[in-house]
Amino acid sequence: MNSVRREFLKGLWDEHPTFRLLIGMCPTLAVTTAAANGLAMGLATTFVLVCSSVMISLMKNLIPKKVRIPCYIIIVATFVTIADMVLAANFPELHKVLGLFIPLIVVNCIILGRAEAYASKMPVFYSFIDALGMGLGITWGLTFLGVVREFLGMGTVFGAQILPATATSWVIFILPPGAFFTLGIVVGAMNQINYALARRKRERATGSITAHQAVQG
């Protein structure tokens, strides 16, 4: 049970695809102009990631090693087409905003990366958990970036006015440069938090050793 939890949680922080591994950057930067767009893109990516990881894990013994990458791509492309069509039929406006980046989930490195590094070797249940963790990691990452950029750029969060309408908003944050700035600063902040966590852990470890020595002495 413990290992299942670890497999699930690693995608949410330690191996966070967007902020730690920096893969799948294109949709991350392009669609996070608003919180809702980031959330939608995250969920679409999660759907494709979970379905294709499970499918690849189920078929791992059938697929010959030499042609595995094309096989994975076809599986992924099939699920992307499903996501594309469902979004186009049910949420036409959202589909229009996300536009090109829905079909581009096919070439999102996260999906092929998990397929190659994880789903092609592990049992179905673990692949499912791993994909779900990674997918939710992407979803919170994209939503967070969307919230920050929408708040700074338009003074709203999920379309609700937060700052008074008279406040000057920094439009640059919903334009392309803002995407790079926000992500750069978030990556830096996350590193800083991890340094602090590691330091505290080390201090606690050394602290317990000295206490132990004191007891023995």
């Binding site: 920096l22 893969i23 950057m25 294109c26 949709p27 930067l29 392009a30 990458i69 094309p70 791509i73 076809i74 492309a77 099939t78 992307v80 087409t81 594309d84 069509m85 090109l100 079909p103 581009l104 096919v106 070439v107 999102n108 490195c109 092929l112 640059i172 334009l175 392309p176 440069p177 803002g178 995407a179 790079f180 700035f181 992500l183 750069g184 600063i185 990556v187 830096g188 902040a189 590193n191 800083q192 340094y195």
Partner: protein, 193 residues
């Protein structure tokens, strides 16, 4: 002719794939540490972009549209790109080993470069002709190479700068890209797209 020039300039500067459209960010951050490799990657990508742009245009126009199979677009395009990259790799290995050694390691990476698939889909959305597609692909490749080379030049200098530890590597690269993207916004009034 004028229209083709507009497409070219538009795709190099105004709608630069990397800095304005956010396509091909992975190689932009991953392969931009040295100028030489950045140029190699840019050239290999341009080459594949032009070939795959033309190939996907032909398949879209003569196979997918007449037979009413636009839903197969994603699957068909990615397969064309993947096999084309493989083919180019084998062809180069046989015919010009020098070029193969220079571009070799980058070629497999290009399959998963979203600029390549993005270009194919954009072209089918815009309804370009074959000539327009080739010019657009060439402009996109040049724009990609330009962004990559500029980034590599800046990052070579950054090695000597005193950067806070948390921002070293990816953080500072992203902020640099933001400043470059801001500079490229200045081109947006150049032509009306």
């Amino acid at each position: 002719m004028g229209e083709l020039a507009l497409i070219f300039i538009g795709s190099v500067l105004v709608n630069n794939f990397v800095l304005v459209r956010f396509l091909g960010i992975c190689p932009f951050l991953g392969v931009s540490k040295e100028l030489d490799t950045a140029l190699g990657m840019g050239m290999a990508t341009t080459f594949v972009l032009v070939l795959s742009g033309a190939a996907t245009w032909l398949v879209q126009t003569y196979i997918l549209t007449p037979f009413g199979m636009p839903f197969l677009q994603n699957v068909a395009f990615i397969l064309i790109i993947a096999s084309l990259v493989q083919l180019v790799e084998m062809f180069l290995q046989k015919t010009s080993p020098g070029l193969y050694r220079a571009l070799g390691i980058f070629l497999p990476l290009i399959t998963t470069n979203c600029a390549v698939l993005g270009l194919a889909i954009l072209v089918s959305q815009k309804g370009y002709t074959l000539i327009q597609t080739i010019v657009f692909a060439l402009g996109t490749g040049v724009g990609f190479t330009l962004a990559l080379a500029m980034m590599a030049g800046i990052r070579e200098q950054l090695q000597f700068a005193d950067i806070p530890k948390a921002l070293q590597g990816a953080g500072i690269a992203l902020i640099t890209a933001g400043l470059m993207s801001m500079a490229f916004m200045g081109f947006s009034g150049l032509i009306a797209m």
